[in-house]
Symmetry: none
Subunit: 229 residues, 2 copies
Amino acid sequence: MSESPKPLVLLVDDEPQIRRLLTVALEANGYRVVTAASGQEGLSLAAHHRPAIVVLDLGLPDVPGQEVLRRLREWSNVPVVILSVQDDETGKVAALDGGADDYVTKPFNTAELLARLRVAMRHAVRQDEESVFQTGALVVDLANRRVTLKGQEVSLTVTEYNLFRLLVRHAGKVVTHRQLLREVWGPAAEEQTHYLRVYVGHLRDKLEANPSEPSLILTEQGVGYRLKS
Amino acid sequence: MSESPKPLVLLVDDEPQIRRLLTVALEANGYRVVTAASGQEGLSLAAHHRPAIVVLDLGLPDVPGQEVLRRLREWSNVPVVILSVQDDETGKVAALDGGADDYVTKPFNTAELLARLRVAMRHAVRQDEESVFQTGALVVDLANRRVTLKGQEVSLTVTEYNLFRLLVRHAGKVVTHRQLLREVWGPAAEEQTHYLRVYVGHLRDKLEANPSEPSLILTEQGVGYRLKS
DNA sequence: CCGCAGAGTAAAAATCGTGTAAAGGCCACT
DNA sequence: AGTGGCCTTTACACGATTTTTACTCTGCGG
């Protein structure tokens, strides 16, 4: 369990006084801090700085916080603690199920928030996750939803991209049919393996040098698919 | 990534109406539940049942909840969600730093508690130990369903892998014909010993240095097979 | 020496999984 | 209303896998 001495916190909140208060509290407790005042800025800083943890306010002026979380989770498993004025219960459940690691309601007690950040950090399995994946001539920029092949941008439809993203995030490992179907088409579609046949076909058409002899998206008969790592 | 279908929740709370309410809610959401009314009972049930998650009330009649948590953490990393009437902030911080994974204040919203339990379970799955078995030049990575021989990946069909995994799990011990057949082909096939002869043959072809003189998958005449450990 | 039982081998037959193409439906845009 | 893009659904052919069958080998006891 090796830690860089001072973990970096990304603080996304549009209220300047909250940013100031928390920056001081966090820095006094051995963190480094970068702040963002909007969702867009938060996402771009997250991709750029690779924080050890994110504190995210839900009430942002531009992108809804829920959406920021969703976008972030497309490529990162960084712990996210939600901060919100809304004590709205369905929002809490949605955020927690959407991949948030904790949810703290404003006004909050600073000592408690810090303790909850320590819990979230404890849970994190420090996995070096790259937001850019590369193999051969293929480059996938997960933070920006861009796929390029030999420098040429490849345009993927929403479903194609969602499926491909899942394979990329588990590059080298077998991803089972059920897992792919559950995450791309939802739990109700777990049995619809024909979706996979069709869409894996599309991806191979767009990405493989020779689609009829796949070297990138490999079939694991009876189990699932695996992306060459 | 092995999943048991219904995770077991240990619910430690001295108030019967809370136990009833939560038992109903949890069972309706696909959990199995065991309940304890005291700290002592909770600790003993935790040791005995190995729950997938613990919901622990802090205000117990015998042992202080904080102490229950400490004793539990001496031997277990099971996720613990604290439930408490005290909105006392220093108590929260102490519990979270004492190894609790979340802290919910009574009265609580059931949907939120359930969402927080899902978060805690999500965290626990990540740190599942990677079970890699190795003997000689053969490496079996059960978590990733990969078998390599002298660094070369060996591809096994679904049935071959299921059979081999069973032998690997009991490496060094004899696994009987009936047991192998029951677990791989189902209880109805317990008598079909010819399946084993065929598939053990396949595995030896793929994995043994000299398939006609097995040194890896050994025959125990009239009983079963054994994997060299 | 023969016959038998348990085990291994080989290959045919049956079944299942996969890739592919194409048709129909839905939606957004014009 | 028409068009284009995408998602869903269906049908079929092919290859891989599983199941079934038949045969061989070996060791043991009559």
